[in-house]
C-alpha cells in the first residue's frame, strides 16, 4: 500500500507576524520554519504508525515549495517518510498547489492521501478537498481517528457539535487533525538515514491560478486591559453589561 502525505512549510507557532513590501509579503527575516503541525503531528505520524503495523506500507511525502522547504522535508524523512517529492514552485494559490499534488497522486497511484486539516499560516483548509475532487475520490475531512482493515477504512471525523464514524474504501483523501496521533521527535538514526533518502525535485505542471494575495493587514491593537479589583467582581459584571454590552 502506498500513502502520499502532503507537507507544507509554515512559520513556527510563536513567530512574530509582520509584513513587508507594502504589506504584500510575510516578513520572513529571523522566522523559524516548521512542518505545518497538522501535517506533521497528526497526518505524518499516523501514516508512520500504519507502516509500523504493516512494514509493506510505503510512505511518500510531497511538498510544493522552493529549495528553502528542504530542511522541513528532511525532518519529515527523519521522522519516517521513505521518499519525498518537491514540486519546485511557490504555494501562492490553493488550486495551483492542489493541481500539482493531484498530478503526482495520479502518476503514483496511491491508495491513501493524507493532508493536515489546514495550514497554520493561510488557514485555507482547501488542499485535501481540491485533490479529492480533481481525482474524483471520496474525501473525509477533520479526521480524529483512522483505522484500516484491508481496503476498508474506518474514520472518526469531527462535525459541528460532535463526531461521526464513517467507513470508506480506498483510495481516498483524508484531512487530519488532533487525535489522530501524538507528536514525535526524530531520533538520531532517523536523522542520519534521512540524509540519503530520495528527494526528487520536479518542475510544476501548468495550472490556472484562481486567486492572488492583494495585501495583508494586521488587526488594530487592543486599547489595553481594564482591571477590576478581585474584591469587587460585581463591577466586572456591570462593565460587561453596561459598557461592553456583552451580557
Amino acid at each position: 500500500m502506498k500513502i502520499l502525505i502532503c507537507i507544507s512549510k509554515t512559520p513556527d507557532t510563536t513567530a512574530k507576524i509582520a509584513f513587508t513590501d507594502n504589506n504584500t509579503k510575510f516578513a520572513a527575516d529571523g522566522v523559524q520554519w516548521i512542518i505545518n503541525p497538522y501535517d506533521e503531528w497528526y497526518s505524518l505520524v499516523r501514516a508512520i504508525e500504519l507502516k509500523e503495523a504493516d512494514p509493506s506500507v510505503v510512505l511518500h511525502l510531497v511538498n510544493v515549495g522552493g529549495a528553502d522547504s528542504e530542511p522541513i522535508i528532511r525532518k519529515a524523512l527523519a521522522l519516517g517518510g521513505d521518499e519525498a517529492i518537491r514540486v519546485n514552485a511557490d504555494q501562492s494559490d490553493s488550486y495551483f498547489t492542489a493541481t500539482q499534488i493531484a498530478q503526482i497522486a495520479k502518476e503514483g497511484s496511491y491508495d491513501l492521501i493524507f493532508t493536515g486539516k489546514e495550514t497554520i499560516d493561510y488557514n485555507g483548509s482547501s488542499i485535501g478537498g481540491m485533490i479529492a475532487e480533481i481525482l474524483d475520490l471520496p474525501f473525509v475531512s477533520h479526521a480524529v481517528k483512522f483505522d484500516l482493515a484491508g481496503q476498508q477504512s474506518t474514520i472518526v471525523r469531527e462535525i459541528d457539535g460532535g463526531e461521526e464514524t464513517v467507513q470508506a474504501n480506498l483510495p481516498l483523501v483524508v484531512s487530519c487533525q488532533k487525535g489522530m496521533a501524538e507528536q514525535r521527535i526524530p531520533n538520531m538514526k532517523g536523522i542520519m538515514g534521512a540524509r540519503t533518502k530520495p528527494l526528487k525535485v520536479i518542475e510544476p505542471a501548468t495550472s490556472e491560478i484562481l486567486t492572488t494575495v492583494v495585501a495583508f493587514d494586521l488587526p488594530p491593537a487592543k486599547a489595553g486591559v481594564k482591571l477590576v479589583s478581585a474584591d469587587n467582581p460585581e463591577e466586572l459584571v456591570r462593565l460587561l453589561s453596561e459598557e461592553a454590552k456583552a451580557i
Partner: protein, 319 residues
C-alpha cells in the same frame, strides 16, 4: 447571474452560521446588483421561507433522504448543478463548508476564499478579506475566475433582518450513490456548539483539576454560553478534545470570551483573539493573557468566579 448560499441544517434547524451566510450572500448580491438564492440538501422540517427575512429570494430544496448523511463528494455534485447560473457561491466556514467548498472550487474552477470576515470589495476586481495566521492577521485575496466561492467565518458577520418570505422551489436532480458510509453519529445535544456560541467560558490549568470544572460550567449555563479549555487541559484529559481552543484546536470568535485560570500562551491567543470582548481571570498579574484582554481580574478564580456567578444572577433578576 446570482448569488447562491448553501444552508446547513442540524437537528432539523437552520444553523446560526447559515443565517450569517444568508445575510452575507444577500448583501454581496446587492453589491453586484443581483439576487441571492439558497440551497438546502436533505429532508428538513425547518421553515425555509423564513430565509426571506435574511435576504434570500428563493430556496432550492433537494429533499432526498439520501442526502441526510453528509458526503462531500455527493453534496458537491448536487450543488455544482444547482450553481450552474451562480456567479458567487457562499458557504459557512464550518466543518461542512470546509469539506464542500474546496471540492466545488476545483470542480467549477471557481476561485475560493475560506475564512472570509467581510463583504467582498467589488470596486476594483473582487477582493475578499480573510483571517490568516490563526487570527493574528488578515489577507485581502483577489479572485480572478468568473465564478467565485466564499466560505464565511462563523461569528464574523452580523445578522440583519428584513421583511420578506423566500419562495420555495424543488430542485430535481439525480443523487449519486455515496462512497462514504456513516456508521454512527455522536452529537452533544442541548449544548451550544462552540464555533457558533455568542459567549464562551473557558478554563485552564489554573483550575487545578477536572473536579473544579463546576465553576466554568455553572457560569456558562447562567450566561447561555459554550464551554472551552486550553490545550494542556485537553491533553491531560480533564476536558474533551473538542473543547480545546487555540492554534491547534478550534479557532473561535465569540462576542464574549471569559478565560479562567489560562495564562494566555501565544498559541492559545491565536485561537481566541478574534473575540470581540475578552475577560481574563488569573491570579498571576504577569499572565500574558492580560495584554490581550479587555477586562481583567487579578485574583483567585475559586473566590472570584462564585462572586461573578452571584452578580450575574442578580443582574438577571434570579436572586
Amino acid at each position: 447571474m446570482s448569488v447562491l448560499v448553501f444552508i446547513d441544517i442540524a437537528d432539523g434547524q437552520i444553523k446560526k452560521a447559515s443565517f450569517e451566510a444568508a445575510c452575507y450572500g444577500a448583501q454581496t448580491a446587492a453589491l453586484l446588483g443581483t439576487n441571492a438564492e439558497a440551497i438546502v440538501l436533505g429532508t428538513c422540517d425547518a421553515d425555509l421561507a423564513v430565509l426571506g427575512q435574511y435576504g434570500i429570494s428563493k430556496v432550492h430544496t433537494v429533499a432526498d433522504p439520501k442526502l441526510n448523511h453528509f458526503d462531500s463528494q455527493v453534496y458537491t455534485k448536487v450543488i455544482a448543478e444547482a450553481a450552474a447560473n451562480a456567479d458567487v457561491i457562499v458557504f459557512s466556514n464550518n466543518t461542512t463548508g470546509k469539506a464542500i467548498a474546496p471540492r466545488l472550487s476545483a470542480r467549477l474552477k471557481a476561485g475560493l476564499v475560506t475564512g472570509a470576515v467581510a463583504l467582498p470589495d467589488v470596486s476594483a476586481g473582487f477582493v475578499v478579506k480573510k483571517s490568516v495566521f490563526s487570527g493574528k492577521a488578515f489577507a485581502n485575496i483577489g479572485i480572478n475566475s468568473a465564478k467565485k466561492i466564499i466560505a464565511l467565518n462563523p461569528n464574523a458577520f452580523n445578522i440583519s433582518k428584513v421583511e420578506g418570505t423566500a419562495e420555495i422551489a424543488v430542485f430535481n436532480t439525480e443523487i449519486p450513490a455515496s462512497a462514504v458510509n456513516v456508521v454512527s453519529v455522536n452529537k452533544v445535544t442541548g449544548e451550544v456548539p462552540l464555533s457558533e456560541a455568542d459567549i464562551v467560558v473557558s478554563g485552564g490549568r489554573g483550575l487545578k483539576g477536572p473536579e473544579n470544572w463546576g465553576l466554568v460550567t455553572d457560569l456558562a449555563k447562567l450566561l447561555g454560553a459554550a464551554t472551552a479549555c486550553s490545550r494542556p487541559v485537553a491533553d491531560i484529559h480533564w476536558r474533551p478534545h473538542h473543547e480545546h481552543v487555540g492554534q491547534t484546536g478550534l479557532a473561535i470568535a465569540p462576542n464574549l470570551y471569559i478565560a479562567i485560570g489560562i495564562s494566555g500562551a501565544i498559541q492559545h491567543l491565536a485561537g481566541v483573539n478574534r473575540s470581540k470582548t475578552i475577560v481574563v481571570i488569573n491570579k498571576d498579574p504577569e499572565a500574558p493573557f492580560f495584554k490581550a484582554a479587555d477586562y481583567g481580574i487579578v485574583g483567585d478564580a475559586f473566590e472570584v468566579v462564585p462572586k461573578i456567578i452571584d452578580a450575574v444572577k442578580k443582574l438577571k433578576g434570579m436572586s
